[in-house]
């Protein structure tokens, strides 16, 4: 069953003046994401990945085409499409606990229930004991854990992620990718992740949508049926990596 479908989606950004032409960021993007599927969108920098996510989130309106969530057109931003940002976007004046609780308050969840849900997600992302800390007292990886917990706690229909681990160093990034697999297996959710890292897409996804250069369209839709957790040197992973690399290198050639 499709949770999210994108039908002929295009986005053109208007130029600011006469000699600043408008930019066609996305051009007729078609795909669907199924229930509890982890889907990655992979593409070069500037191909319109963030643009796609901002439209799914409801921050921007498509120029053409439509986005449907459970068959209904997407409207204003809301908790049913919660988002994890690359720069975490944590409320720095709130503690870990209060950050995670924020969305629940917006949903008018009663206090007692809020407490237990917050506790549950703090445990899930491995931050117990840090409940009362402020974001500036946490490391980058821990901040992203808070942001994951905050986005999951509202129980969204789809979880959106914009290069969530790009700001971390290589070691932390691969650790957080493994953590994300573990969290996702415990709290099954429909996920849409945007990234330019092939390995990140392979580690996490059920499906990988490869995008062309700008204007972005979907170039390949690859089902990943390897068991998790996936090891880097697993033959299946190596094969898949090579296949995707070729698709992406192709993209470079087209450009030249």
């Amino acid at each position: 069953m499709a949770v999210l479908s994108s039908i002929g989606l295009s986005k053109r950004f208007a130029g600011h003046s006469a000699n600043d032409p408008s930019v066609l960021a996305l051009s007729s993007v078609n795909f669907t994401i199924n229930h509890n599927e982890f889907c990655s969108v992979l593409g070069h920098s500037g191909c319109g990945k963030t643009t796609l996510l901002t439209m799914v989130a409801g921050f921007e309106q498509p120029t053409e085409g439509e986005l449907l969530l459970d068959g209904k057109p997407i409207g204003k931003p809301g908790w049913e499409r919660s988002m994890i940002f690359q720069d975490y976007a944590l409320f720095h004046w709130l503690t870990v606990e209060e950050n995670i609780s924020f969305g629940l308050e917006m949903k008018n969840v009663p206090r007692d229930e809020r407490k237990s849900v917050v506790k549950e997600y703090i445990n899930l992302v491995g931050l117990s004991g840090f409940d009362r800390r402020y974001p500036h007292q946490l490391s980058g990886g821990m901040r992203q854990r808070v942001s994951i917990a905050r986005a999951l706690a509202v129980n969204p229909q789809i979880l959106l992620m914009d290069e969530p681990f790009a700001a971390l160093d290589a070691q932390n990034r691969s650790l957080m990718q493994k953590e994300m697999v573990r969290i996702w297996e415990r709290a099954r959710k429909t996920c849409l992740l945007v990234t330019h890292s092939i390995d990140e897409a392979i580690t996490l996804s059920d499906r990988i949508l490869v995008m062309t250069r700008r204007p972005g369209t979907i170039k390949a839709d690859i089902k990943v049926e390897l068991p998790r957790p996936r090891q880097e040197d697993d033959p299946g992973v190596i094969l898949l990596r090579r296949q995707i690399k070729e698709l992406i290198i192709d993209e470079f050639e087209v450009e030249r």
């Binding site: 989130a57 908790w79 988002m83 940002f85 924020f102 969305g103 917006m106």
Partner: protein, 272 residues
């Protein structure tokens, strides 16, 4: 202070605390030297007639004590602080206005031209007109103080709102926050350090405006006290008044910074 602790290392407690005291005294050294020089000059160098213009620290201290015992100092303090406080309550209206202007470009475009015209007029330039409007007394004083406070608070609030990271607002929206809650729970909170900074600056400017307003338009308060003492050639009282004005200004500033630090442990704006 921090490096004093570090250099003291694991030295015994008495040594490190006497070390602190020494450092303290060293930073006060120049001040003490100036006081001593002042005392010597006004006692031995100046002749009696000129010494009236520069009474020695001991004479000033005596005058201070007189004013404290008679309670006169506190009467003026009460009146000045009351004016500052009432004007501050009015000036707090700059916070919602600044939020609206920082948040909505339409509101900003409408109100900004008016602000731009009024802002460069120094509060003191309003004194003549305000005396005609309100007469001499509390309302006129409060009006001048209000003008001194209003613009720093307003401008800081606007820039605080405009400098909010856009992703914070987006994060709140996609957690289900509507417009009102985004404003109250995110925009106001994220801009708070700068709003408090505006309040700090505003209280400082207001305090200066207060004294000026009281010099000409009041029958009580520190400004009145020092101007009245001038006509009686009580220079000692003038100096007591000046010092008290300075000390209270400093205390207000420190208090706001302390409260800011206590209320916002997550902000670095108010750390010393």
């Amino acid at each position: 202070m921090a490096d004093a602790v570090a250099t003291a290392g694991n030295a015994p407690l008495e040594r490190s605390s006497s070390f602190h005291l020494l450092r303290r005294l060293r930073t006060l050294g120049l001040l003490i030297a100036v006081l001593v020089l002042w005392q010597v000059v006004s006692m031995y160098v100046l002749d009696k007639r000129t010494a009236v213009l520069l009474p020695s620290p001991t004479v000033v201290t005596q005058a201070f004590w007189e004013l404290v015992v008679s309670g006169e100092l506190f009467v003026h303090m009460r009146d000045s602080l009351k004016r500052e406080f009432v004007a501050f309550l009015w000036a707090l209206s700059a916070v919602p206005l600044g939020l609206a202007m920082g948040w909505s470009q339409t509101v900003h475009d409408q109100i900004d031209p008016l602000i731009e015209v009024l802002r460069p007029v120094p509060p003191l330039a309003w004194i003549p007109l305000s005396i005609l409007w309100f007469g001499i007394g509390d309302i006129q004083n409060q009006f001048i103080i209000f003008l001194g406070m209003f613009f720093p608070i307003l401008l800081n609030t606007i820039s605080g709102v405009k400098n909010i990271e856009p992703n914070l607002v987006r994060a709140a929206r996609c957690l289900g926050a509507g417009e009102g809650r985004v404003l109250r729970r995110v925009v106001l909170r994220a801009a708070l350090p700068q709003i408090i900074t505006g309040i700090r600056v505003g209280l400082g400017v207001g305090w200066m405006a207060l004294v000026a307003a009281e010099l000409v338009g009041a029958n009580s308060g520190f400004g009145f006290l020092i101007n009245d003492a001038r006509t009686l050639l009580r220079t000692d009282i003038v100096i007591v008044g000046m010092i008290t004005i300075g000390v209270i200004g400093l205390i207000i500033d420190r208090a706001i910074r302390y409260l800011g630090r206590r209320a916002m442990p997550w902000s670095r704006t108010f750390s010393a």
